[in-house]
Amino acid sequence: MGDMNIQAIEQYRSDFLKEVEERVEEGHWVKMCMQCGVCSGSCPFGPHWAHPPQEIFMMIRAGKREEVLSSDSMWMCTSCYNCVVRCPRQLPITQIMHGLATYAHRLGLAPRNQPTRDFSILFWENCTKTGRVNELKLTLGVYFREGLMAGIKKAWNMRNIGFGLLLTKRLNPFELFKGHACKDQKGIHAMLKKAQEIEARRHKLPA
């Protein structure tokens, strides 16, 4: 991952806007922002971001690569799409935020222990393994993220819901050992590999 970051710095030098345009999902829209501020004002999570979308776009254009990619701002996006609906230039702001987060993650620059990022990694590994989401493992993964004691405490707090799910056959404890999978696991993995290849080509990522 670190290599990819060094490669990107060498390739784009100080032109961070170009890097975003080529490598980030919907990144070519960033230059269209006219700094009106409607996105930032419309964001329900607005006060909790270090940098609202409008500021992120300006930082990209100002070449503040480190600050943007290591920021946890874009990880705060809840995909409510309020900004996309109101943007006078119809920028796909939500998609750009996710694109930036993904890119920062790939480069290894995304902030550590960011809850959204941790959950995303957990979810992605969980569902791509067998082609199906194993809800039990996912839930336990989230519970025990902050250590054994914290996990036990959370699981204990949720015990009534857990038993309820068990009684209504919504939760199968045996999923913990093997878990069900989709019929063609190999096919799923081949598909994901191909998709990654196409994405790398589209965003000019090094192989």
Partner: protein, 427 residues
């Protein structure tokens, strides 16, 4: 105005606002026969509904007065009010327009004495004050109306109110038997000057126009400031009639927005700068104006006016497009939410009144014009398709009064060339 017979050397002007009036007069003063068709009962258009012009802050009354004088003194123009062009057939140098006229129920005997209005009891929303107040169902559109003749609203026809108006008239001017008519008018060239309309502010959902009484549009604010307006020139809040001293102006309300109007409406920055001076005029140093903007576009040579307003301590500028407006339930004060681009500070500002600097949309969109024309994506005319139909004024672009007049004169030059060609061919 003599009853001129229209021929293929006549120029037909559609729309009697400042552009249409200018076009009609310029052509007529060149010796051409002109027919001027206006949809409303009076000429003057939206210009007549302004309180003052920028940048000199003079009153539109004076410019209109001059034009109306020119019109009265010219025998080449025939004015048809309350009429719409529904179809244009033929080709360059030989058009036939179908004109549908609605009944005014008042004939040329009218002396504008106002007896009918005093006799009539029912009231209608006053379109000349953007429906901010009511007027009698027999009314003179406004003080500058041309022709100076009353109108009877069709809603009272067949009621005792209409009979009262008829009985009150000492001059036999009320004619309740008037019917809708269809005329065929020949013309060599057509000038399309149907002007603009304010964008429907209710469509800008986060600003709450229509839901919050203290959010109004810039055209309505013009009427509030005007002594002939619904408040007699006092800037009062619609919710409680209190003086509005702390006023927010929101720029690009509908303009420069892919979800609403794609174009920059061009006049709104200057209009808001001008309107801050209405606040100063009304309240002196006690007035507070705040302009929320993306960037100020003081068009043409008006940068000095902008600088003058910047120096005014009662006017504050906030570089931010407001994200949404909420309302204080108790006081009904609008509360503006957004983020300031200069420093990215989040604000939550309360004002007495919010004025949306509303964008300009063409009154008749390109696709709805009953002739073949080429229009841009906003519906403004770019060119006529067969060389004899010309756009003028705000039908072609978002323009201020000054530029509309220039545009109208330019279109006359083109139209005159067409009818001159026809004249030579027939001589």
């Amino acid at each position: 105005m003599t009853q001129a017979v229209a021929t293929n050397q006549t120029i037909l002007v559609v729309g009697g606002g400042i552009s249409g009036m200018t076009a009609a007069l310029e052509a007529a003063e060149c010796g051409k026969q002109v027919v001027l068709v206006e949809k409303l009962p009076t000429l003057g258009g939206r210009t007549a509904l302004l309180y003052r012009y920028f940048p000199k802050l003079c009153h539109p009354v004076c410019g209109l007065e001059i034009n109306l004088r020119r019109l009265r003194g010219n025998r080449n123009v025939r004015v048809i009010t309350m009429a719409e062009v529904t179809a244009i057939g033929g080709s360059r140098g030989d058009y036939t327009a179908t004109v549908k006229s609605s009944p005014r129920y008042v004939n040329e005997n009218c002396t504008a004495c106002g007896d009918c209005a005093r006799a009539v009891e029912s009231e209608i929303p006053n379109p000349y004050n953007y429906n901010l107040n009511k007027t009698k169902a027999a009314y003179l559109p406004h003080a500058m109306a041309f022709p100076q003749r009353y109108v009877i609203d069709p809603s009272i026809i067949g009621t005792p109110d209409a009979e009262r108006a008829k009985a009150a008239c000492k001059f036999g001017a009320v004619d309740l038997g008037m019917k809708e008519e269809t005329l065929q008018i020949k013309a060599g060239a057509v000038i399309w000057a149907t002007g603009w309309q304010p964008y429907d502010a209710a469509k800008i959902q986060p600003y709450g126009y229509g839901r919050f009484p203290n959010v109004i549009t810039s055209v309505e604010f013009e009427r509030l400031a005007d002594p002939h307006g619904p408040t007699g020139g006092k800037i009062l809040r619609p919710s409680d009639g209190k003086e509005a001293k702390n006023i927010a102006f929101i720029q690009c309300a509908g303009s420069r927005d892919e979800n609403h109007l794609r174009h920059c409406s061009r006049i709104c920055c200057m209009a808001s700068l001008k309107q801050t001076q209405y606040v100063r005029e009304a309240y002196g140093d006690e007035g507070r104006s705040t302009i929320y903007y993306i960037d100020i576009r003081a068009i043409d040579r008006f940068e000095d006016f902008y600088q003058k307003v910047q120096k005014d301590p009662t006017v504050k500028f906030v570089k931010s497009k407001v994200a949404r407006i909420a309302e204080d339930r108790a006081t009904r004060d609008p509360i503006l939410h957004g983020v300031d681009t200069e420093g990215y500070h989040r604000y939550e500002n309360s004002h007495d009144l919010v004025v949306l600097a509303i964008g300009m949309a063409p009154s008749v969109k390109g696709a709805d014009i009953p002739a073949e024309i080429i229009a841009d994506s906003s519906g403004f005319i770019e060119a006529g398709a067969n060389g004899g139909i010309f756009g003028a004024g705000c039908a072609t672009n978002a323009l201020d009064v000054n530029r509309s007049v220039q545009s109208a004169t330019a279109s006359v030059l083109r139209a005159v060339q067409v009818v001159n060609k026809v004249a030579r061919a027939e001589a």
